[in-house]
Amino acid sequence: MSGRNDLTLDRRAVVATLLRDPGELLVVTGLGAITYDAGAAGDRPLNFYLWGAMGGTAMIGLGLALAQPTKRVLVLTGDGDMLMGMGSLATIAAAHAPNLAIAVLDNAAFGETGAQSSHTGLGADLAAIAAACGWPTTVTARSVDEVAALQPRLRSERLFAVIRISPAEVARHLPPRDGAYLADRFRRALGVAEH
């Protein structure tokens, strides 16, 4: 599963597919390119973008999913962020939140810092790790068709998905990065702001 031969998908097209017609989908994105991809797909109040806090994206998704059990939560992040928060795969599997799915865009590299090989390029398989942590369903997608098939499943299942993408850099698209603004507009859009 690891290696670099299957890294062909265009990340921006993948994220555009996953976030098409988002409705009330609650989206949390990990720092770096995935935040730019989500912004490029269309900025919206129910997107919470991280620009730091590496390793924490999936756990934010869990706290949100537990607080909003009737809504769907989608965590979109990269292999570096997921590797840093690898323990959270066990924590989230143990928490059994049925309304949370995670999709990791895996380019097998630390793209923001000079494209050094990450562990997924050196043999680690995040989908297998998630399965071993107790995730009931894990998927690895490598083609446009597989990504299209994944889109509805990420909005209905308790699913951990790895999507193998090209490590090629794409143009930066910078969504808002003021954390207080992002948190406040998210809570207001959700109707949970206390004042």
Binding site: L26, V28, F48, L50, G52, A53, M54, G55, G56, T57, A58, M59, I60, G61, L62, G63, L64, A65, L66, A67, Q68, G85, G87, S88, A90, T91, A94, A95, G179, A180, L182, A183, D184, F186, R187, L190, V192
Partner: protein
């Protein structure tokens, strides 16, 4: 005896503050709180593999309209530092209750460095630090810390002194 009393007071303060999610890395000093949280139908408990997960969990809970607390030991504070940029940067409330090691009568030298550094490290990272030394102040202190965190949107830590908890002996 006084042990369960101050812990019960702390739990009652969390209930009054409408805490709905409890993330924890276990510690003997938190065992009563953890047990009470598990038994409470209005609290969702999450056992963590490392303490910084609890900061991200609390941030997600807040985005979704829940109030959360993180229970940990002083040794775990060091694991949290960069993740504290999340509540600080997003001006989110964050509440943590920390049981202290490495101070009063500590027998394990490995607990001492992080125990000694805990208040300074939290302060440097932007966290307001309260400390409980006497059993009778636990409930009031947790209540005030929760009011500060959720009312003013800042990170707050309550340190339970090792003298209060009782020195661990083998």
């Amino acid at each position: 005896m006084p042990q369960t009393t101050w812990q019960a007071d702390a739990f009652a303060a969390l209930k009054r503050a409408r805490i709905a999610q409890v993330g924890y890395v276990p510690d003997a000093g938190h065992s009563h709180l953890i047990k009470s949280a598990h038994a409470d139908p209005h609290m969702h408990t999450t056992v963590l593999t490392t303490e910084e997960e609890g900061i991200a969990l609390a941030a997600g809970a807040w985005l979704g309209g829940h109030r959360a607390v993180l229970l940990m030991q002083s040794s775990g504070v060091g694991n949290c530092i960069n993740m504290l940029s999340l509540p600080v940067n997003c001006r989110m409330p964050f509440l943590t209750l920390v049981t202290m090691r490495g101070e009063w009568g500590e027998f394990n030298p490995w607990q001492v460095p992080m125990g000694s550094a805990t208040p300074a490290v939290l302060t440097a990272a932007g966290v307001h630090v309260h400390r409980v030394d006497r059993p009778d102040e636990a409930g009031e202190m947790v209540g005030a810390a929760a009011a500060l965190a959720f009312g003013s949107g800042v990170p707050v830590a309550v340190l339970f002194s090792q003298r209060l908890i009782g020195t661990k002996v083998f």
